[in-house]
Amino acid sequence: MKLTPDQTRMLAATVGLDIPEEDLENVTLRVSALLESMAQIEAALGAEMDAVEPVPPVFPREDF
C-alpha cells in the first residue's frame, strides 16, 4: 500500500507524533515499502500464516 504524506501525517497523529515536513516524505517511503512488502508476503504465505500461532521465537525452556 502506497501512502501519501497526508496519510502518514494522520497515522502519526494517532500515536501523538508530529512529523516535521522535512522528514515526512522519508517516513512515508519507509512505511509504504514495509506495507507493500507485507502485501506481497500475505499473497505468498497468507494461508500458512493463518495456520500458525504468532508466538515469538523466545522459548527459554523449549526442546529442540
Binding site: G16, N26, M38, M49
Partner: protein
Amino acid sequence: MQSSSTDPVFLSAAEQGRLIRDRKLSPVELVQAYLARIERWNPVLCAYITVCADAALAEARAAEQEIAAGRWRGPLHGLPFGVKDQLNTKGVKTTLGSRILADNVPDHDATVITRLKAAGAILIGKENLHEFGKGGTIEFAYGQPRNPWNIEHNPASSSSGSGIAVASGFTSGSLGEDTGGSVRSPAAANGVVGLRPTFGRVSRWGGVMYGWTADVIGPLTRTIEDNALFLQAIAGHDPKDALSSTRPVPDYAAALNGNLKGLTLGVVEEMTWPQGVNPEVAAAMEEALRTLEALGATVTKVSLPRAKYAVPLQLLTSDSDIAAMMLKQWRTRWRELDVGTRTRLAAGCLVPAAVYHRAMRGRAVVRREVLDMLGTVDALLCPTSLNPPGRIDATKENVDSAEAMQQKVLLRRISTYPFSMANVPAIAVPAGFTKTGLPLSLQIAAKPFDETTVFRVAHVFERSTQWHTRHPDLTKLAPAAGKESRS
C-alpha cells in the same frame, strides 16, 4: 599490509590469558598497550565513545596482584574488554550513541558485565554504535566509525565500534548486541569473529533491549577460541531475565577439538548466490566450500525460499517493538535524534497493530522453514554479507526514493536476518580479503542452543585458513581523517 599476530595486543585472548596465568604477560602492561593505541588511533576510527583508562589500570593492577598471590580466576582474568554502549555500566556513561542520553550514567551493571568482571576481565571502554543500537544512522553523535582496513569504508552496523576495536588491537574482546545482524555484520566488515547466540542463552538484563523478541548479546573476538571463552563467561540462566534459558551451559572450548568428518553442511542458495552478489564474495564463498569439503564435511546446496521475507518481517515487528518504547522521546526530542534513526523508527511506530500481528505469524512461518532445514543438515552456510564493506558515503541509508528503500534497507540485510528470525546461533568468521584488502566473511548457523556445532565448524575452518592472523596496519592511517569525521 598487516601487523603481526605476535604483538601482544594482537595475540588471541586465549593466548594472552595463558601468558597472564603463567605471569609472562602483565595485565597492567597489556592495558597500557591498548590505551596507547586507543589514544593514538581512536580519534580516527571512533571505536570508543568512553574510555575507562584510570579504572581499567586500577583493575589491571588489582588483577596482577591477585594472580601473583595465587588467586587466578580463569582464562579471562586480567584481560580488557570493550562493550557496545547499549549495555548499562555502573558509574560509566551509557549513551546508546544518542545525544539525548549524553549524560546517562546507570547505577548498575548489565548481567553480562557483572559476569565478565567476576571472571576477572577489565572494562576498558564503551564502544560506538548506531543510535539506539539499530542500523541506519546517518550522522553519528560521537564520531563517524571507520573501518581500520580502509578508513573510507564502512565498519558495518550496528555494533560498529565493537568490531573496529577488536580488529584494531584496542581490546582483547568486545560484547555487541544483535537484532538482525548487528554483531555478525561488524565482525564481517572488520575481519573478526562475531557470534549471535541463541535467544535465551545470554541474559539481556541491563541492556537496552527493546527488540524483545530478537535482541541478543554476543561476543566479537579475534579467534573462535576467544569467542567460546567469552560466551562461556556470559552464558547461562539469569533470574532477572524472564526469557533466559535454564538449560545447562556446555563446555564450549571442548567443541574446539573436533573435526568435520560426518557433518553435513547446507549452503543456502538464496542467501549465497542471489542476484547482485559481489563476485569477490562469491569467489571467497566457493573457496570456503572447497576448504570445508577438503576438511571432511559433506557440503550440499539447500533452499530456503521464504528467507527473502525475513527482512521486512523483522522490520515490521522488531522496529515497532523498539519504536513503541521510544515514543515519548520521539514526541518531544525529534530533532535531537539522527535523521536515519528518527525516520526508521517513526515508520516502526506507524505499523498498524493488525499488520504487526500478521507479521508475527509470518515470522513463525519463516522460522519453521529454517528449523525444518536444520533437521536435515548439521549447519547452514552463507556469506555474512553479500558485499565487501562499502564506502561510507555510499552506504548511508538515505531514503529518498522507493528504490533506495529497497536497495539500502531491505535487500542488503538478507544474509543475516533469516537466522535472527529463526532464533538460531550464527557466527561470522573471516574468510578472505578482496583484491583491495577488505575483509570477507563466512556465516555458519546451527540448531537453537547448538553453539558447540557453530564453534566446531568455525574453528576447523579458521585453523585451516589462518585468515584470522592478519591485522590492519594502523600506522598508515591519516590522522586528519579523524578530525574531519568528528560531528
